[in-house]
């Protein structure tokens, strides 16, 4: 199977053993490609990962810590071929990641996202509610992760309704109007998880608004909700009870691998599309962990041609729950994201001088 066939095949249809082989071959090619085109990548792979040879399955592929895209300029194309630079929307004081895309990689990302989304949305463009203000897409020069994610999703909808104003307040009247017109047929709701909860759900929950024909797609992490003791199960249950909304799809993805989206199944677990996979590693030894053991998430994707980001060690913790479970309706690994690794707390710093009694 080549890349196009992986993309064309029904998503989530590959048994893990087949995926290991097919995706392993794709990733082997990409490793070679980036090794010869990106000097930094070659030096890192040659020293830290013994040259990245002997790749059979995704687990054999060298993995770059995702933080490297913040500190270094990593690309496998000449500067003249850079079509777009993606930035992570890093919080204040943090250096954002910079991801260099050429036209082909950008095209693959768009295509890939579309293959994944049509799996749950069908082929039609649905009327769409965006839990955002329209301000975010007006400034198209800033391709941060949030704007890029939103723009990527716009194409799956029509008659877009931006439900929030500039101050992130929900327009309840606007929402009622939208539902009057489109509420009787399938419609799409998209937004970032914490906005969907705090700015959308919490406002409409007491209002008896019917969203039972809706399909909610959301992403962006649970950190802010965990503080309010809302996890994925609670999120789904409360939506169902208050609005009748049952078709809810969380997804996991990152600006360093746009297009490789891990979409939630009906069981509330995340699944890798055909052209991507996750591997869980022991954070200390970096060894691959078996099913059921929590560890660092490594993400592999066959999409990145223009930058060496086809295999990345994230700073997220996750767990694979089962593999090729026939009951889930999807093949491959089913996993969930637990959260970020706790920040490093080093006692001193370079300013520091310690004093003690020697041995």
């Amino acid at each position: 199977m080549n890349f196009d066939e992986l993309l064309a095949a029904p998503q989530f249809s590959l048994p893990q053993a087949d995926k290991d082989r097919v995706l392993g071959a794709q990733l082997r090619e990409l490793t070679e490609r980036h090794r010869s085109a990106c000097a930094d990548y070659r030096k890192i792979v040659d020293l830290i990962f013994a040259g990245g040879r002997q790749i059979e399955t995704p687990a054999d592929v060298p993995f770059l810590p995702v933080s490297l895209f913040k500190t270094r300029t990593l690309r496998s194309i000449p500067e003249s071929e850079v079509f777009k630079i993606m930035h992570s929307s890093g919080t204040t004081g943090q250096v954002p990641s910079r991801i260099f895309l050429d036209r082909e990689t950008a095209r693959r990302q768009t295509l890939a996202l579309s293959r994944i989304m049509t799996h749950v949305l069908g082929g039609r463009r649905l009327p769409m509610i965006l839990v955002e203000s329209d301000g975010i897409v007006k400034d198209r020069r800033q391709f941060n992760a949030r704007a890029a994610g939103l723009l990527g999703m716009l194409t799956f909808g029509r008659q877009h309704f931006y439900a929030l104003d500039e101050d992130a307040r929900l327009s309840v009247d606007g929402l009622r109007e939208f539902l009057e017109r489109h509420g009787q047929e399938p419609f799409l709701i998209f937004g970032f998880t914490y906005l969907v909860w705090q700015r959308f759900f919490e406002v409409i929950a007491p209002l008896r608004i019917d969203l039972s024909n809706g399909i909610l797609v959301h992403s962006g992490g649970w950190k802010k909700l965990v503080e309010q003791a809302v996890d994925n199960g609670e999120f789904r249950r409360r939506f169902r009870e208050a609005t009748g909304l049952k078709r809810i799809y969380n997804f996991y993805g990152m600006v360093e691998q746009v297009g490789s989206v891990y979409l939630e199944g009906d069981d509330g677990l995340l699944y890798a599309p055909n052209f991507a996979d996750v591997i869980i590693r022991d954070p200390l030894t970096l060894d691959v962990l078996p099913v059921g053991e929590p560890g660092l998430i490594q993400v592999c994707s066959a999409l990145p041609l223009s930058y060496p980001g086809h295999s990345l060690l994230t700073e997220d913790l996750g767990i694979v729950h089962h593999v090729d479970n026939p009951q889930s309706g999807r093949l491959g690994k089913a996993f969930s994201v637990i959260g970020r690794i706790p920040r490093a707390e080093l006692r001193g710093c370079s300013d520091v001088l310690a004093a003690t009694v020697g041995g």
Partner: protein
């Protein structure tokens, strides 16, 4: 312009008011006055007896360093250091600016200055720290416990404020700035009174040197002790103390170095296992990220990522970068013999902790360093041990003023 006076506990007050009060104090004493020794001896006991303090090994170490017998020893050293034709008196007021993140430094700095009879102003940052709070509380109690220690030490807290720094600097005869190159640069922008002196402790780099042959000659039963000592030097402050080793240099032939190195790291791993050392996931990831950076930027001959630490072997020390991420990452290099280290040493280098060298070899090395760097050469296990000689200063005697007395020679009749 306000600061928070913690000792004496006057609360938030105008800096002008603080300065006015400070000028009115007559806290100076003669060096090593009996009541000073007694005061710090009591402080040491109070730390030993504090249940809270006992939770922090660095506080116990401080109390041990300040115990009465050690203060007596320091007094003897002081008398030995005073030349026959001089009398040593205090400089006056010492203004201490300790680092924001090593909680015990301010006490070490204070003790040496106070024993010389100076009055002291200590600026603490607003960063919360249980260790600092315990020390400030116990120090305040010693002052309240009686005796006339008013003015011996004032502890104030304020954020980064150049104007307050300037106002307090105006009061001092000696300023002590503990580190971070940036801190030193920032505070130095405030000029000292013309007569005043300054001691600065900027960022430093430290390494360990081991004679491969001597290490291999160790009986197997003696190797764990070296591992334990090295653990203390490197891991107590997550390798972020400036005297903690970040580079290990092996001295000897290729085969000896290979054999000694593999035994040494195996031993360290055993020590960490034995202590059930809690390695942090984020630190492991940071080590991997840093290793990738180094691999892209400089020549390396090997990389080994372990559960507790990472080794990066460099083929040569030429062009070696002293960048470091802390948290258990060791660069490793080999030289034929100790003197081959000399061209590598720069002013940034502070401590060489060693194993397997005779005093003669170490003095030979020191004698070749000229103005390059390295101001401490200590056995492995003592890298973090504080002393009066630090960063090339004799801190104790720097806090004193020499009065040179010349009497006419007896004339021949």
């Amino acid at each position: 312009m306000k600061l928070n006076a913690v000792i004496p506990a006057s609360g938030v007050m105008d800096v002008e008011e603080f300065a006015r009060r400070h000028r009115g104090l007559h806290g100076e004493r003669t060096p090593f006055a009996a009541d000073l020794l007694e005061f710090f001896g009591r402080f040491s006991r109070a730390i030993f007896q504090s249940r809270e303090a006992s939770r922090y090994p660095e506080l116990t170490a401080l109390a041990y360093w300040m115990r009465p017998a050690e203060l007596e020893r320091l007094r003897a050293e002081f008398h030995a250091a005073v030349p026959a034709d001089t009398v040593v008196m205090p400089r006056g007021t010492v203004f201490h600016i300790p680092p924001g993140n090593v909680d015990t430094i301010f006490v070490y700095s204070l003790v040496l200055a106070a024993l010389m009879g100076n009055t002291n102003i200590i600026r603490l940052s607003d960063r919360p720290s249980p260790q600092t709070d315990i020390l400030v509380d116990l120090l305040g109690r010693q002052i309240d416990a009686g005796g006339s220690f008013e003015g011996l030490v004032s502890v104030v807290r304020y954020g980064h404020d150049a104007q307050i720094n300037a106002a307090l600097t105006e009061l001092c005869d000696c300023r002590v700035i503990w580190g971070g190159d940036n801190t030193v640069r920032t505070i130095r922008a405030t000029p000292l009174p013309p007569h005043a002196l300054e001691l600065v402790f900027p960022d430093r780099y430290s390494l360990a040197a081991i004679d491969a042959g001597a290490y291999l000659a160790l009986a197997e039963a003696d190797r764990p002790a070296i591992a334990a000592d090295f653990f203390n030097d490197a891991f107590w402050f997550d390798q972020m103390a400036c005297s903690s080793p970040r580079l290990v240099v092996w001295c000897g032939g290729e085969n000896d170095v290979a054999a000694a190195s593999s035994l040494f790291w195996l031993g360290l791993e055993g020590e960490l296992e034995h202590r059930a050392y809690m390695a942090q996931p984020a630190v492991s990831v940071r080590r991997l990220g840093f290793s990738c950076e180094v691999a892209a930027d400089q020549a390396l001959s090997a990389h080994v990522h372990g559960r507790y630490f990472t080794r990066l072997v460099v083929p040569s020390l030429d062009g070696f970068s002293r960048e470091h991420c802390g948290g258990g990452l060791f660069f490793e290099a080999a030289v034929e013999s100790l003197e081959h280290l000399v061209p590598f040493i720069t002013r940034r280098d502070q401590t060489i902790s060693y194993f397997g060298f005779a005093r003669r070899q170490l003095e030979n090395l020191a004698g070749m360093l000229m103005a390059r760097g390295v101001e401490r050469i200590v056995p492995i296990g003592q890298a973090l041990k504080f002393g009066r000689f630090w960063d090339g200063h004799d801190m104790l005697m720097s806090f004193g003023r020499y009065i040179h007395i010349i009497t006419p020679r007896a004339r021949k009749r």
